[in-house]
């Protein structure tokens, strides 16, 4: 399809919304953009109802429910014009004029090009099956229930510029920058946020806690970031969720790998790697290369009672719960399907939150390599064993001391925080600050609103 005919469709779509027919190749291109944007991860609750919404996103201000974005005319976006669709994706504004919460990464999606938005629209109107069922409504506490409070936030933090190629860089670099900063929305998780939950640009991709998981530093720093990784390791990580002897994707990164990265072309993954390797380094504690195989089995085997409720049993908790897959000495399997626990970012002091999160929540990701599944050890129905906070702290401390750099100790309270969905202290602080700031935002919003009405 030529650009002219595409534009013709574009023009047509403004008035005809869902009634039109898009060519198959455009719909397919839109599917790819949707995959690169990982829409499905947030907008799908029950697996058999793709894009039907009903997916809960835990945020520091409360649960946000991702909506039904199927072309259902009763409960989805079937009545959206392309302009309304573009505004929702890139500006965070729904067809009815209400603001979306920035749980929808529209600050990143703002970079998506017109061509890709057009393809995306074609896909959602024609390539997705409508589901005529409502999604759960988001009901946040005051003042966050006032969606117009986001107007002020948008004024301060939303950059509406579409991606432009940097002529000083290669085409591959530019493609990578587009994918990583636009559809791929890496910064949404990997960039720490400021007091008003805006991304802190001075720490771009330097790592941030997102719920129970820590989205680590992925800048080019050799120790704290992934500057020591080869390009093909980054590509392999994105395609399979693991870089042998370094790191494995869990939590929402496992979802991103399963639903999005693993389905992108090798060229696009290479482009993302090229760009990511060029992201300015931001330092911090080292995450890789530490530790070695070892075990303390001889200290308890056949001597002590195997009552695992006894305190001081980290090594035996490891033996009972972990050793059958990861090896009695933590070296994993030869093929690293079961990763080694030394030389592993999760047993570095900086990554120990993710050790705890992986134990509590397990790991679940599907790629061409197969289905990687580590059972959870929380209170889930399929928990291998429901370890309590104290036991997980003992286990984490054993793992960090035995396989890691011994740089961090974990207390039962830390485990409780991660079990509750993330570091509570930060969350409470942020919410309180946000609550205070919200008043200001509402004020700003109101002023702007009144001014606009005056000038209208």
């Amino acid at each position: 399809m030529t650009m002219k005919t595409a534009l013709a469709f574009f023009a047509l779509s403004a008035s005809m919304a869902a009634a039109q027919t898009f060519p198959d190749d455009l719909v397919e291109r839109g599917r790819y953009v949707a995959t690169a944007s990982d829409c499905v991860a947030c907008h799908t609750g029950p697996e058999d109802k793709p894009f039907g919404g009903n997916h809960r996103i835990a945020s520091p201000v409360g649960d946000i429910w991702a909506g039904n974005i199927t072309p259902s005319t009763t409960h989805g976006i079937g009545n959206y014009t392309e302009q309304q669709f573009a505004d929702a994706v890139r500006r965070g504004i729904r067809a009815d004029g209400a603001n979306l919460y920035p749980a929808m990464p529209y600050t990143a999606f703002a970079k998506i090009t017109d061509e890709d938005i057009h393809a995306l629209y074609a896909y959602f109107m024609q390539g997705v099956a409508p589901i005529d069922e409502p999604s759960q409504q988001t009901t946040l506490e005051f003042p966050f229930n006032l969606r117009f409070s986001m107007i002020g936030w948008n004024l301060m933090f939303r950059d509406t510029a579409v991606h432009r190629d940097d002529p000083a860089k290669s085409a591959e670099w530019n493609r990578g920058a587009y994918l990583a900063e636009g559809p791929g929305h890496c910064s949404t998780c990997h960039t720490p946020r400021g007091m008003l939950m805006q991304e802190d640009g001075s720490l771009h991709l330097a790592g941030a806690q997102v719920g129970p998981w820590f989205a680590p530093n992925i800048t080019s720093d050799k120790d704290a970031g992934i500057g020591s990784w080869q390009k093909d390791e980054i590509v392999a990580y994105l395609a399979t969720g693991r870089a042998e002897g370094k790191s494995q994707a869990g939590g929402s990164m496992a979802e991103a790998v399963s639903h999005s990265f693993s389905k992108l072309t090798k060229d696009d993954l290479g482009a993302i790697a090229t760009y990511i390797m060029d992201v300015p380094a931001i330092g911090g504690p080292a995450r890789f290369g530490q530790g070695e195989a070892g075990n303390l089995t001889a200290s308890f085997r056949g001597i002590e009672s195997p009552d695992l409720s006894d305190p001081g049993k980290g090594a035996q908790i490891y033996s009972a719960n972990c050793a059958s897959c990861h090896g009695y000495d933590g070296q994993g399997t030869q093929d690293q399907y079961y990763p080694s626990l030394f030389h592993n970012s999760d047993t570095s002091g900086a990554g120990v939150n993710n050790f705890v999160a992986a134990v509590l929540n397990g790991v679940d990701r599907k790629t061409e390599e197969g289905h990687v599944f580590m059972p959870p050890f929380g209170t889930q129905p399929n928990a291998f064993n429901s370890l309590d906070d104290g036991q997980i702290a003992l286990l984490a401390n054993y793992a960090v001391a035995q396989f890691g750099d011994g740089q961090m100790t974990v207390a039962a309270e830390d485990v409780a925080m991660i079990r509750a969905g993330g570091p509570t202290s930060n969350m409470v602080r942020n919410v309180r600050i946000l609550m205070a700031a919200a008043g200001v935002l509402v004020l700003i919003g109101t002023v702007v609103f009144l001014r606009r009405r005056k000038t209208a």
Binding site: P306, S319, P375
Partner: protein, 540 residues
């Protein structure tokens, strides 16, 4: 404390759990009562690892029984055996039941296995045919997550499957492949992959894939093998109440001989009464008939469900004889699950009119544990001992002949005069494997085993004594199923002929044993019972 429930399921093993889940999914209220404790997998794993080497082959050694819920255990008297042979099954009274330590082997019956009387003039026919149970086998294979071969040439029984296995079979290890080739080339026998309740190359049922710890018995340390303990949290999430450490000792009848309540002791010997509408007793083939006999009342002076006098009779097992021999060439068994292939075709034929059929199981337990003592007794030390252990680990094979057994009313479970910790009469079983089995050992199985040993180049084959049989843990027959209330305990739905709202599903209901392990047939029958119970509950 719960004092009533719509459905009461006594026992939390595979049969009780499958029925409970079916009832919960149908919207019924379910209370499960378990005699034993509820323990973590991690605890069992460490119990096992802390055992001395010599105790590790004992499948129950990692499961010390609670005082109030005794089960067969080294050094503990619970199950009495009388008669010419020793009846010595293992079972576990823990939440999750004996699937904790099963190997996961999941052979289906064949159509012929269910018609011994009409085809061969021995034993009993089942109350229904293979086509009737086939859909429930399919349900079982999906519920438990049973992997099995996709190639019809490797499947058992030899017939077109109505549904494929949900997972491909686990690969055979090097030694198993070699054994399979030798059997095919030299004897024309098919050694086929075992269908087994084990996640094969993929997670299933929200449990991880098998990672070949070769530790299926006594416990899968990662939960890749189905055991009922893996489902208990899910049942609770669906609304079930589970009472552990609660020993049901009496089932109470009321008007119309319907069941109205069960009575249980807690761990402090305090008695409790729980009323309900539908009752499922799924305590295994020893404890279920024992409970029926213990519950005798004025209406049922010989015990509940026992107007036929068949409760506790027809006790069956797969009597087995093991052969260990040494080969010249290395086999290196022990990679993968502990039972991964076997010869089933020797279990079918017109000879069943004369003697029992047999199944040859190639055990795939890593051999070092078993041969270490033997190597040490050779007197070798140091490097020579290491080499001897290595040689024997590589070259010793263990093949087990598992026999079918006929239902004989004289093989009978009764209540002993001896009492257990709670003061309840212990079970006692008269046990005689029977001439049908002995003839098979002498005339059929021993000669076949010798040919197998010669085919693999064994130098030290010793025939098994036709008088000595060990017990499998496949407890069958004690509450036998049939269409005639005069000669059987339960009907085709595992419902007792005598009590309209009492189900006794499980191995006790099986009318023939065939040679394959009994669990998936028990589970298929559990689904049939669950459907009947739900339709009764919904109709009521």
């Amino acid at each position: 404390m719960t004092s009533s429930s719509q459905v009461i399921v006594v026992g939390t093993g595979v049969v009780g759990s499958v029925i409970a889940e079916h009832c919960l999914d149908a919207g019924l209220e379910v209370l499960m009562i378990e005699a034993g404790p509820r323990v973590s997998r991690a605890q069992i794993v460490e119990n096992y690892r802390n055992l001395p080497l010599g105790a590790k082959p004992d499948a129950t050694a990692s499961y010390p029984p609670a005082d109030w819920a005794p089960h067969p255990f080294h050094g503990l008297e619970h199950l009495e055996s009388t008669g010419p042979n020793k009846y010595d099954p293992t079972y576990i009274r823990y939440a999750g039941g004996s699937t904790w330590h099963w190997a996961g082997t999941s052979w289906r019956l064949t159509p012929e296995d269910m018609q011994l009387r009409s085809r061969y003039g021995v034993g009993r026919d089942w109350a229904f045919d293979y086509e009737t149970i086939d859909p429930y086998y399919n349900m079982t294979e999906r519920k438990l997550g049973i992997c099995g071969p996709a190639d019809p040439a490797d499947q058992w029984p030899v017939r077109t499957r109505s549904m494929p296995y949900p997972m491909p079979h686990l690969p055979l290890s090097q030694g198993e492949r070699k054994f399979t080739e030798v059997m095919r080339d030299k004897l024309g026998l098919r050694n086929v992959p075992v269908a087994q309740a084990r996640n094969s190359g993929m997670p299933y049922d929200d449990r991880p894939a098998c990672c070949a710890n070769n530790n299926c018995v006594p416990v899968c340390p990662v939960g890749a093998k189905y055991d009922a303990a893996t489902s208990l949290n899910r049942l609770e999430a669906k609304g079930a109440t589970i009472l552990e450490n609660s020993v049901v000792y009496r089932v109470e009848t009321g008007e119309g001989n319907r069941i109205v309540a069960v009575h249980y002791y807690d761990r402090d010997k305090t008695s409790h009464r729980v009323t309900g509408e539908h009752f499922v007793i799924a305590c295994n083939g020893v404890e279920t008939p024992r409970l029926m006999l213990m519950s005798a009342d004025d209406r049922n002076p010989n015990g509940l469900a026992n107007s036929s006098d068949q409760v506790g009779r027809n006790m069956m097992d797969h009597p087995q004889q093991g052969y260990t021999f040494t080969t010249v060439e290395p086999y290196w068994l022990g990679a993968g699950p502990v039972v991964n292939s076997g010869i089933m075709e020797t279990s079918q034929g017109d000879f069943r009119a004369d003697h029992a059929a047999v199944y040859f199981r190639l055990n795939n337990f890593a051999r070092n544990r078993d041969i270490a003592k033997r190597a040490m007794s050779s007197g070798k030390v140091g490097r020579a001992l290491d080499e001897e252990i290595r040689r024997l680990t590589a070259t010793s094979l263990n093949v087990v002949a598992a026999f079918e057994m006929l239902p004989d009313p004289n093989n009978r479970l009764t209540l002993s005069a001896q009492k257990d910790w709670l003061g309840l009469p212990r079970p006692s079983v008269y046990w005689d494997v029977g001439d049908y089995v002995r003839r098979s050992s002498a005339e059929y199985s021993n000669p076949l085993a010798q040919r197998i040993a010669e085919a693999v180049g064994a130098t030290d084959f010793k025939p098994a004594s036709p008088e000595k049989f060990s017990t499998s843990k496949h407890i069958m027959g004690g509450t036998i199923m049939g269409n005639d209330p005069a000669t059987s305990v339960v009907d085709r739905h595992s419902r007792t002929h005598d009590h309209a709202n009492l189900y006794l599903p499980g191995g006790g209901a099986m009318a023939s044993t065939a040679c394959g392990n009994s669990t998936i047939t028990m589970t298929a029958m559990a689904f049939m019972a669950a459907e009947a119970l739900v339709s009764e509950a919904k109709g009521a």
